[in-house]
């Protein structure tokens, strides 16, 4: 008995499973952001949210119908060359965007922690509820 997953080339679980996990991560992230007083914790919530988005992106990339090609229009490749071998598989877009989200998360974490440390130095604490300089 071979692996059932290998039979139909699809991942072990259907798209909805991944989306549900993503949604749960997202909700957890939002909950964390909303309820935590500690700025570092809030940052963790943001990371959760970004991860949730990434799970969705990759899941869609894997499951959902993709455009015909990633190549530019009007440029002919030499004959016999598979455009997917040059421009990449068309469905890879989701993965690429997930990679960009990872980059974004890294940049965001770096800057956010800089800000958090600034708050810490100034207020002696990292309670985001005390950062109300913009209060009207």
């Amino acid at each position: 008995m071979p692996l059932a997953v290998a039979a139909n080339n699809m991942p072990v679980a259907s798209l909805e499973w991944f989306l549900l996990v993503g949604a749960f991560l997202f909700a957890c992230g939002i909950f964390t952001i909303l309820t935590r007083k500690n700025a570092v914790s809030v940052l963790m919530g943001v990371e959760l949210v970004l991860n949730a988005a990434n799970v969705n992106l990759v899941a869609f990339s894997r499951f959902v119908k993709a455009p015909a090609t990633l190549g530019p229009a009007g440029i002919e490749l030499p004959k016999g060359v598979d455009p997917h071998l040059v421009y990449g598989a068309p469905w890879i877009g989701g993965n690429v965007f997930a990679a960009f989200v990872i980059i974004l998360a890294a940049a965001e974490a770096a800057v956010a922690l800089g800000i958090i440390l600034g708050i810490y130095r100034n207020l002696g604490d990292v309670d985001v509820d005390q950062v109300t300089g913009m209060k009207g």
Binding site: N8, N9, M10, S14, L15, I30, I33, L34, T35, V42, P67, A68, P72, A73, G74, V128, D129, V131, T132, G133, M134, K135, G136
Partner: protein
């Protein structure tokens, strides 16, 4: 070659003696007419002994000469390499047709100066010798490649030779439909065009630029901003090369502006001087005036043809893009010519060029004599097919007026560089005039020859200024003994510009005059131009020899300056020698006439030829003679004839240009030659009489004609005219507007204000009693509401997030729930998995 030490060899040794052999005759004149021949004679006697000055350094000079010969040999080597067309590099045969068949050589020539400029800007000061060798080396490499190209051009010898390398620069896509390939809706190509004109211009620009770079090593050596100067020179070289290499008008316009920018930077190089700063602004603004016209012209052509490449525009015009608007085509041509008016300093906008002499002299030589100002001429040459006959008449008139106009001003100028500047303006007028009179080949030929002798003259004047530290010719005199090389080179160039037979200037100017005469026979509107041209030729000879006589011969006016004068170091002298030789030699061979011909006709060519040849079907003849049987009957309307070029690129057959009207033009040329020799001779003679023999007294003439003299001294009051009739009116208009604003509008406003105050007094009572009650009530409501609502603005980011998430939820979920409440709880069928393809 660039490694010459700071060798201020005040060379006037044996080698220099050769150069002064011919001027020796003039020296005798100096003796004859000299007022103070005692001291002069003593000096001359010493001079004949060889090195009357204490600084006698034959070693430096001979080394310079050796380098010179070596350089000429190398240059000749590159040239002959190009002529050969291939060379054997250790078994690998390198095909030099690749110079044209690939874009990289041309791009190398283009980009090296840019790289050098960046190097100079960022690290120039830290480099040894302050980095002058970077710029010089860059442009020298460009010169080598250009010379190879030049040789290859001679080797190919096809007047219709042309190569275009283009890429898509901007392509805007329109998405047609999902899954369908996108459609390109708009493309702007970028590329380079190489043809004979380009190659010739390349050689001119790189050669002059190289020599000026070398010259500047001596001239600018004391300059604290030395490396910046070289950076600017490199930027200029880059811009100019880009201008001549690009294949479309957009790029042309960009580089055109870049050239303007570098000119701005270089004119104001000594920006501490107010005059220099003013001059640079003036040059910039004057150019902008012309450029607006040019831009409008470009836009017009783009609007009608939808193309920006030269070939595309010509094709579009030939295919009748303007067929319903021939008048507009004329206007567009004139607008395009506006750019040339600005850049080539034609009549109304010439004012910037003399002032531009505030820049360092090498700059004047490079930019304001040889190359940049030629850009306008180049523009007209390049866009020649789109000029209608009417537009050409306009062009010719502008050129003619400029030629005579500047020549007369030069008569009275005393600043050596101003004289040269006005002579430049005048010569540019000749070129423009020639192009306007359909003397395409000779007009462009004059650009080529003029570049050399004018650069030589400017560099020579730089050498003189370097020696005597003044620009006023009235303080010079007798310098030929001190500066024999400078004198020799400048004399040769003066012969050329005056049109002495045997020199290059004679050939080109005579060609223009002949063509002009021929054209005037067929178009009466050109007759005044002919008169202008011949008178201008005489005046040119006169004032140029005036310059020579006042500067080099006679006795020194200011002895102190004369004593300190010395021959320039060899880095300055060598370019002079080369350019002096080229001033004589650059017309030899006749290749130019055979390689540069008017381009195949666009829309207006048939009409133009009709104009010139009275309806003879010369167009067809020209085509057939060029194509040897005319493979393409329709070639006249197609600038891009691939079959012909594919043949020329490979075969060794020569395709020289044959002027179909050569026989018709012959009498005119003969006449023109005779007249011009006479005119030039008389100009020289009069000049000799006036400034050497002092038979004719110039001050007396000036006193006799005070009005004319003042007019000329004040340059026809053009600057004043512009000031009073353009600047002042605009200022007055502005003042007027301001006064209108102050008096009328403000009065109205104030009156309205008083009225309002009055009304409000009345209304105030009502307001305080009735309205305030309402308003205060409202305000209280608003305030309490605001206080309540401001609690939402907690300043806490989390609260905001909560609200936004809740809002999004409400929008997405709530809306869906409200609209689809029936379907929310009904399950849809499961998704279907498509099988693998």
């Amino acid at each position: 070659m660039a490694h010459g030490h700071d060798d201020h060899g005040h060379g006037s040794g044996h080698d220099a003696g050769h150069g002064s052999a011919a001027p020796g005759g003039h020296d005798d004149h100096g003796h004859g007419g000299g007022h103070d021949d005692h001291a002069h004679g003593a000096a001359a006697a010493g001079g004949h002994g060889g090195g009357h000055e204490t600084h006698f350094q034959p070693a430096g000079m001979s080394r310079g000469l050796a380098v010179l010969v070596l350089a000429l040999g190398v240059a000749g080597g590159f040239f002959s390499l190009g002529v050969t067309g291939h060379f054997d590099f250790g078994g690998r045969v390198i095909d030099l047709n690749d110079l044209f068949d690939t874009p990289w050589p041309a791009l190398t020539v283009l980009c090296l100066p840019l790289v050098a400029a960046f190097v100079q800007i960022f690290v120039g000061r830290k480099l040894p010798r302050r980095g002058d060798w970077v710029s010089t080396g860059a442009v020298m490499v460009g010169l080598a490649i250009s010379l190879m190209m030049f040789g290859r051009m001679i080797g190919i010898y096809d007047w219709q030779f042309q190569r275009i390398h283009e890429i898509e620069w901007i392509g805007l896509f329109t998405r047609s439909a999902p899954g369908q390939p996108d459609v390109t809706s708009f493309r702007i190509p970028m590329g380079i065009l190489i043809d004979n004109i380009t190659v010739i211009m390349l050689v001119v620009v790189t050669l002059i630029s190289t020599l000026v770079h070398i010259f500047s090593m001596g001239y600018m050596v004391d300059e604290p901003r030395y490396s910046r100067f070289y950076a600017f020179l490199s930027i200029f070289t880059f811009s100019m090369l880009g201008l001549i290499l690009c294949h479309n008008v957009f790029a042309l316009y960009m580089f055109w502006e870049l050239v303007g920018l570098s000119s701005y930077l270089l004119i104001g190089f000594w920006f501490e001087k107010k005059s220099a700063a003013d001059a640079q602004k003036k040059a910039f603004l004057a150019n902008r005036v012309g450029d607006i016209g040019m831009f409008l012209g470009i836009v017009t052509f783009f609007y009608f043809t939808g193309q920006i490449t030269y070939a595309g525009i010509f094709k579009g015009v030939a295919e009748g893009a303007f067929s319903n608007h021939m008048g507009l085509l004329t206007i567009a041509g004139c607008l395009l010519f506006c750019g040339a008016i600005g850049k080539s300093a034609q009549f109304p906008l010439h004012v910037w060029l003399p002032d531009a002499m505030e820049g360092p002299t090498p700059v004047s030589a490079l930019i304001h004599a040889a190359t940049m100002v030629a850009a306008g001429v180049y523009l007209v040459t390049r866009m020649f097919p789109v000029f209608t006959p009417d537009a050409l008449i306009v062009v010719a008139w502008f050129g003619g007026i400029t030629a005579i106009f500047a020549a007369t001003i030069a008569l009275c100028a005393n600043d050596i560089k101003k004289v040269l500047a006005y002579s430049t303006v005048s010569q540019l007028g000749y070129m423009i005039m020639g192009l306007g009179a359909s003397a395409y080949t000779n007009g462009f030929f004059h650009l080529w020859t003029h570049a050399f002798f004018k650069a030589c003259l400017f560099l020579g004047s730089g050498s003189v200024i370097h020696a005597v530290h003044t620009q006023d010719m009235r303080e010079m005199g007798g310098l030929w003994k001190k500066m024999p090389i400078t004198f020799g080179a400048m004399l040769l160039s003066t012969f050329a510009i005056a049109g002495v037979p045997g020199t290059s200037g004679f050939t080109s100017k005579d060609g223009i005059l002949g063509d002009l005469l021929f054209a005037a026979h067929h178009h009466a509107a050109l007759w005044p131009i002919v008169v202008f041209a011949f008178v201008g030729a005489g005046l040119t000879a006169f004032y140029m020899f005036r310059l020579i006589f006042m500067t080099f011969t006679g006795k020194p006016k200011v002895q102190e300056k004369f004593d300190h004068a010395h021959e320039s170091p060899w880095v300055m002298a060598a370019p002079l020698v080369i350019l002096g030789a080229l001033a004589i030699l650059s017309d030899k061979g006749g290749w130019f006439q055979e390689l540069v011909g008017p381009p195949p006709s666009a829309a207006s060519a048939a009409i133009r030829m009709d104009l010139i040849a009275h309806g003879q079907p010369v167009v067809e003849e020209a085509k057939e003679s060029a194509h040897e049987g005319g493979e393409h009957e329709s070639a006249e309307a197609h600038p891009s004839n691939e079959a012909a070029s594919a043949e020329t690129s490979t075969s060794a057959r020569r395709h020289p240009y044959e002027d179909p009207l050569e026989h018709e033009k012959h009498p005119a040329h003969t006449t023109a030659m005779i007249i011009s020799i006479f005119v030039a001779g008389s100009g020289i003679f009069l000049s000799w009489l006036t400034y050497q023999k002092k038979v004719i007294s110039a001050p007396k003439i000036a006193a006799a004609l005070p009005g004319v003299h003042n007019l000329l001294l004040n340059k026809y009051y053009v600057d004043e005219f512009i000031t009073y009739f353009l600047v002042q009116p605009f200022l007055a208009l502005a003042y007027g507007c301001a006064r209108f604003d102050l008096k009328v509008i403000d009065f109205t406003v104030n009156a309205w204000g008083y009225f309002t105050v009055l009304c409000s007094r009345v209304a105030g009572l009502f307001d305080q009693k009735v309205v305030d009650g309402t308003v205060n009530g409202t305000a209280d409501v608003v305030q309490s509401a605001g206080t309540a609502l401001s609690r939402f603005q907690t300043g806490r980011i989390k609260t905001y997030l909560a609200w936004s998430v809740a809002g999004a939820l409400l929008l997405v979920g709530g809306f869906h729930l409200v609209t689809n409440w029936k379907h929310v709880f009904v399950r849809r069928p499961a998704a279907v998995v498509e099988p693998a393809k």
